[in-house]
Structure formats: structure tokens, C-alpha cells
Point group: C2
């Protein structure tokens, strides 16, 4: 008789890929590690799940600890994937449930607590440098950005990067930053305003983007776009 194989009992973490648009670029929230391993290296924010705490609650708690954002201020939060390779943390085995968050371009309320070293960095710089991040965080970041790019195709979640009232130009800038391409303003305008449930017009306008006053919209109630807004054929910038 073989002895039964030892079952795993492990710590559970949540890691966060927090994305936002600022200065026309897709940015990701990173912290600089103050302790080994990977001391001084950038890493995704995250932490351990507590006894009795739901996974998504843990993600919201960590997000609030790092950014000060309460759940209602987060544009979108979804589970991304779970990373659990045996040696992904050199100290001990950790199963990490990664979450993906979209937040509007806000002045972050504070950078207190663990977050004294948190900053928003350009996503493409960390995508191209494979070993700039601690642990397996490069793989998690890749996974999160690819998910974000795909979600913009078939959901109206681009609006999660915008303030509650936004113009079509501001929405287009989200697509251009996330996909890294430029889109035709006229066709984009028609597509978005004609897509049922994508955006809802208000009777307000703004001139904050310059030029002729633009109508302000709020998020629609659709969960998916039919038909989708495909990046495939779009012209590279």
C-alpha cells in the first residue's frame, strides 16, 4: 500500500491588475517592493485573503487599501485567472487569484498604508520588459491586458474608464489607449451611439475637449455589444 499523497494546504492571495487611462496612455498600478524577495522591484498590488473573507471582497479591500477607492468608485472589477505554480513564490506556496480592475482617471485620494510606493506606470513599458516585475507578475499583467483588450470588443466596459458623464471623444480615447491604434472619429461616433445599450445621452453638453460642444453620455445598461466592435481590421496608429 502506497501512502496517500499529501494534500495541499496553502495561503490564498489576491493580486490586482488595476488599469486606468492617463495622459493618453494605458497605465497599471504598481508598487515598489520594500522587502525581499524581489526587493526594490515593481510588483502588482495584492495581499492575502483573510479567514472567512470572500475572494472578491478581498480584492475590493486590497484595492481600497492601495488606492483609497471604495467599491462604488471602481469602474469595473472581475476575476482574471488563478496562478498557482508550485514555485511561483520562492518562500512558500501561494495560490493567487488575480483580479482585473478598470478605474476612471481620478486623482487617487491617497497613497497611504502599504501604498506609500504605489504609482501608475505605462502598461506597454512593463509588457515589453519581461523581467521588470516580481514573481510571475509579468504573466498576470499580460493576461489582464489581453483580457481588457478583448472585453472592449464585445462589452461596453470602456465606459468604466470614464467619469460618470463622458463624451464620445473621451470614450474613443479609451479604445485608442487600450488597443494602441487610432480610430476614425466619425465612424466610432456612429457605431457607439447606434449600438443599443452602449451609451445613454443626457441633455447636457460640454466644451472641455475643445471645439463644438459635445453631448455628454452616461453608461448604458447593455452587458454585451451586438454586433461587437472588433479591433481586427482597425488601422494601426
Amino acid at each position: 500500500m502506497k501512502p496517500p499523497p499529501a494534500l495541499l494546504r496553502s495561503a490564498i492571495a489576491v493580486d490586482l491588475v488595476v488599469l486606468t487611462i492617463s495622459e493618453g496612455a494605458l497605465r497599471v498600478l504598481l508598487i515598489r517592493r520594500g522587502i525581499p524577495p524581489f526587493k526594490g522591484r515593481y510588483a502588482l498590488p495584492g495581499g492575502f485573503v483573510r479567514d472567512g473573507e470572500d475572494l472578491e471582497d478581498a480584492a475590493h479591500r486590497e484595492l481600497q487599501e492601495e488606492t483609497g477607492l471604495r467599491p462604488a468608485q471602481v469602474g469595473h472589477l472581475e476575476q482574471l485567472r488563478t496562478f498557482g505554480a508550485p514555485r511561483r513564490d520562492p518562500r512558500e506556496r501561494v495560490i493567487s487569484v488575480a483580479y482585473l480592475a478598470f478605474i476612471p482617471n481620478l486623482p487617487l485620494p491617497y497613497a497611504g498604508g502599504d501604498a506609500a510606493t504605489a504609482s501608475l506606470e505605462k502598461a506597454d513599458e512593463f509588457l515589453s520588459e519581461r523581467s521588470a516585475l516580481a514573481f510571475d507578475h509579468h504573466e498576470i499583467l499580460e493576461c489582464g491586458i489581453e483580457r481588457a483588450r478583448a472585453k472592449l470588443e464585445y462589452t461596453p466596459l470602456a465606459a468604466a474608464f470614464c467619469p460618470t458623464h463622458f463624451t464620445i471623444l473621451e470614450l474613443r480615447r479609451v479604445y485608442e489607449a487600450v488597443w494602441g491604434i487610432s480610430l476614425d472619429p466619425a465612424n466610432f461616433h456612429r457605431k457607439v451611439t447606434k449600438s443599443p445599450g452602449f451609451v445613454t445621452p443626457t441633455d447636457e453638453t460640454t466644451t472641455r475637449d475643445g471645439g463644438r460642444p459635445a453631448r455628454l453620455f452616461v453608461r448604458g445598461d447593455a452587458e454585451t455589444l451586438h454586433p461587437p466592435l472588433l479591433r481586427h481590421g482597425a488601422s494601426a496608429d
Copy 2:
């Protein structure tokens, strides 16, 4: 000073949503539980991750234990989502990483070991009966089937339900079973054969589906379909 909150240490499980097509219907592999809790109820196959074992390896191991299928015989395996609500298992907290598998319509080699009670059941029957499954397995099943339906739209993974050599009719039957609709044979044929990397023709034909001999195809090398094959407009059966 508050005491630091207790961190979670927990068992890690993998649960499997194993889908296949047989007799024209989408079916899911279920086991009948022999022990409490939920004794006698249907459940998704699954088990605990071992010390030092990778998550995907654990999924393959469980799949082989339940079905006898070696990794190479599995059409497709991907991580689905992680379920970790505090009371999802009434005995103790378990974090379960769910996987989704597509397997061809094979006579399952054996039903030994844990799998003495395993069977392939019609998916839609268990989708509509919310409390027919143990634990939160109904939610996991819903998640898996929705993922499968979506994946057929923008990937060539329908072929993962087929034997290595298949006809366009057989591929269409996969779509019809998973989406629960009927598709126009002529348009489907053109769409699939013209979509780059979806299927690769061989020089063999078969008459196993009746009628004029049909060309046999093998899976192409594309990972995604451009443009996708959308279920949106398709006519309900």
C-alpha cells in the same frame, strides 16, 4: 492595537466541467455522490490539489482518474474560474479552481476508481434545474457552458469535440448542440472552409454521414477566428 486579522490557509480543489457531444446533445460528465454532504446528488468531478502539484496538472490527473483519458486525448482544457465563497463547502472552507474540458465523442475507456458512478448527462437538464447539483456546482456549470458557447464564436475550438478527422457536417453538429440552434449547412460550410486556419482539408473523404462523400478535415492552426462566427443573429431551432 487591533490584533492582525487571521489569514486564510485552505485546501485547494479542482472541479471539472467536462463537456462532450453525444446523440446530438451537449453532455456534461457528472458523478453521483456516495457520501455526505449531498449524498446521492449529482456533482461535478473534482478533487484536491496535492502538495507540489501544479493546478493544471491536478486537473489533468482528475480527468484521467474519472475518464481514463490521457492529456493527449483531451480535446481542450482551460481554466474557467475560481470559486471560493466562505461557506460553499459546509464542512470546511475550500478554494476550488474550476477547469473546462472539451472531449471528443469517445466510448470512455473505463469508469473505474472514483468514477464508478460517472455518467454523461444532458447539459440543458442540469442547467434548468438549479438545485440538482451539489455545492455551488450549478453556478460552475453555468459558467462553463457560457464560456463554451462564447469560445465557439471566436475560436476554432469546436473541433476539440470532434475526432482528429472530421467532416464539416460533424463540426456543424457541435455548434448546433452547444448553441441549441440550427445553422444553414451551405453558409456554414463556406464560412468554415474560408476562415483562415480554422480547418485544414485532407485528401480523404468519408460517407459515414450518408449522402455524397464528404471531405475530411483536421484542425487548423489558428487560435482565433477573424471575423468571428457569431451566434447572435442565428435562427433559433
